[in-house]
Assembly symmetry: D2
């Protein structure tokens, strides 16, 4: 279900050392290229020697001409300010792969929001180390790949997954309760392009069985954390967190059920922001311009 999108909207995301004149230069450049700025957000950690971040959303009335001109010419502006930058076009719908194991709540939340048009993304493929969710996925018209993973076959399995992702031109990956740890190589290949949902309010209850730990600790709120995957397990940049109030009547099982509901909310928001290029990563933190 690829949406043929004729939007003329583009987004420019910038990170650079702060100094005077950045906004003026960028907005002057865009104006000269007929861009009509719709929204712009910026943030400076410190005007004196800090880092500057900007996200500009603009319409290009003659998209075909100007978009590629900007793509070619903007490096000159960027160089002047030592910028990291990327230019994104709304008409190029991103391709998202979902990795799952056996639990379906996060998967189904994403599929429902995708089908309802809430998430403007293409989902060409779902990959799982278990066959359980095949029928559900295929009922949405999405290709399902069962790639089993054992300790021994992990490198092969990841290689196979990469091939699938390549063949579908996947832009980013969502781990929707995928219970495998990805290798460093895999993570490096998709830097800041793998979103995970951790079933706890990080940094509390890092690691396995967070709901059991939360139950034993007697917490009064449980949470979930959506974050980008890095080499440090559960330590990647946090994108979104959500919580739910609980009480002593919740068994460990009840906490798990309650947890599912916050997991899917936090994950869906993070995915939405990623799709709309609202997230900038700096060191181990995110800036979310929403």
């Amino acid at each position: 279900m690829h949406q043929s999108n004729t939007s003329n909207r583009a987004r420019l995301l910038i990170s650079c050392p702060d100094q005077p004149g950045i906004v003026a230069s960028v907005s002057k450049y865009l104006h000269e290229n007929k861009a009509n700025i719709v929204q712009s957000d910026q943030y400076s950690t410190d005007p004196e020697g800090g880092m500057f971040f900007m996200r500009i959303e603009f319409d290009l009335p003659s998209f075909e001409e100007t978009y590629y001109t900007i793509l070619q010419q903007f490096p000159a502006v960027a160089e002047q300010f030592d910028m990291s930058w990327r230019l994104e076009q709304e008409r190029k719908t991103k391709k998202m792969a979902i990795f799952v194991s056996k639990e379906d709540h996060c998967l189904l939340e994403l599929l429902w929001k995708w089908r309802s048009g809430e998430l403007e993304v293409d989902i060409p493929v779902v990959i799982s180390n278990h066959p359980d969710l095949k029928d559900i996925v295929e009922s949405y018209g999405i290709t399902f790949f069962h790639i089993p993973v054992t300790k021994e076959t992990k490198p092969d399995a990841e290689q196979k997954a990469k091939e699938v992702l390549d063949s579908y031109g996947v832009d980013f990956i969502v781990l929707a309760r995928y219970m495998q740890i990805l290798s460093s190589d895999f993570v490096q290949a998709f830097r800041h392009k793998v979103i995970n949902i951790h079933h706890s309010f990080l940094p509390a209850f890092i690691g396995a069985n967070p709901y059991k730990k939360a139950f034993e600790r007697g917490v009064k709120l449980i949470g979930a954390t959506a974050h980008y995957i890095t080499d440090d397990l559960d330590e990647g940049p946090i994108i979104e967190q959500e919580i739910l109030r609980v009480n002593h009547r919740y068994s460990a099982e009840d906490l798990k059920i309650a947890g599912r509901n916050v997991e899917k909310i936090a994950l869906a928001r993070a995915v939405d922001w990623h799709i709309n290029d609202k997230i900038l990563v700096h060191e181990n933190k995110t800036l979310v311009f929403n």
Copy 2:
């Protein structure tokens, strides 16, 4: 306790019909005047024929020279785009008057946040139609004026209040549970400069006794709404709303107590945003750039 503030920070707030080139022109102008943009937010209701809003925060290294230059010259830029605009300086701490009746929870929240430095504002005067809170106010070193109000004396009372406000150079007013309805004349004189806290989740329970009504309706959440006062009672632009979960065990009195806690939270946030020029009013709505 006037803070002698040597900040070089200024804020420019703009509303105008949207059209290409606004950001470029404004940022170019500011850059030419040595402004170092720290933060900027903008929003367009519709790039084609909609309204455009912008808030820019910037540092002026040679404040004394450039601030007044901008103040004098910016009208030329503004005229070009048919802008409503205002320029604010952080070093000029705003003067806030608080109007109260007998209840002290909102008053004390503001006073505490003021004394702790959380609200960067001057509070030269508190005005009340009752004498009850005199001692508390004076214990904070703030002048207290008791101006009784009856139906007959209302015009005189408002006149007297205006004189007090003038003599202290008050910039804006907070109605911290002031139970009187201000006249249209008074409201006009302080347009978008009177913040009220309404003890309900507007537009539910408009008017008097909202907690009693909430009790009778059996709501599961109660709320409070901070808004600018306009001629339409309880209908002015909403700045902030907050809620609290309640249940069947709450009596009407319990709801009132719970309500106090959301009232003070919502009001304090609204005041903070007003102080920091984060609020733009358009028609009957606010844009809060926070």
Copy 3:
């Protein structure tokens, strides 16, 4: 997918004028009948002349013998205290019908929670005035009835719906964004057995198009309200409310999307509580023992 439930758990719900000795009499009676009380909640509006409410959950080790004994004998206890009461058994899974129109978000939330075991209920039938959701419903193995409704055919349509509900032995109905107003006769026939989700934070924005109204009013929080249907449209006893923070960037359409997410959360909670007999209705309010 009827669950063959062998639970020995029962629930007794009681409302009566408060007076001394109620708890003692009831718990003594249950103990004599070998009931093992697992949980009990009670509430009195006023020990002097108020109303008393109780919900007791208990296990009956010899269920077959004792359950029906209690059912037959308890009226004697109840009469003594002028009680309204009902006895429910966990092993008798309730039968829920869902009424929908075209929007699927509330329906799918309920179906997913049902399939995942989160909602312990049977869903024999979905009824709709539109054919749109037929395939989705049937893919869950649930019978779908398309019963069109026009102003003229409404009595016939309701009659037909009643026949369907009867033939499936339906215990209660959920209006999951069913956009029709039910007749007084229908509502009376299912008193406190029809749960509706209203797409606003009642009593704000009663009636149609609440998100448009919320947009125009510029609210900072939007909400949804699950309530039992009564003859007074949107005025029935509130079961649950939920809210979500929004801001000036939300278009009327964005508010609608955000609204869907609070609607499904509030509705699913209300349904869960109804299934587990956690709700008592008194006059126009609910007591939720959760």
Copy 4:
């Protein structure tokens, strides 16, 4: 400001191994002693071999006679079920001591809620290791003790504090941002009677400087945790937790300010529940019957 309280209300709190007949026996006993049960909550971790907890609130029309009768006779009932229990009377207002250092936000929240009648408690004394808050405390008519603490003088300081607490008949202690670690001896002497507010969402950010750690981790929600003090620092039974949403614009200082606001909310709720005997502690968890 001791309130002369003539309430006839008492509260019985019970923990014991679960078994059939507990509720029946207790409610029968209370009924025979003319108690009129107003509210009762109970919870069983597992009807088969689990623990049973109950909180009963009741009025005793002839309080003077029956209260002491129950106090003397109830041990016979308790013994039968191997109960831990305590009987509390609402007319005996609890005496609370507050320990502070230099920060006043939690202290002032408690004082304000006390003066407004929201917290029905006596506050005879505030103890601090710094003199800074003396004037504020005394302005509320409360005695302030400055007891400095160094590593060397800690045993003496705690001894002195104990003497003060004894002389005022203090029932429980609130650490309102008291930055000292209490000795094991002191903690044992006030088991489950010292409430602390930890400035983070435990178990995240255990230990010092949680806001700095939260800033570095880039969390999207910050929290605070009210808990009983035990020998394990920051590991005592959690009473209440609260959170606030933050974003990348919050500096470490902003997080600290935001944190204050959640700290005072969580602490005030925990204190309110403790005052009203709504908390039962079992192993390292609390049951809050609210």
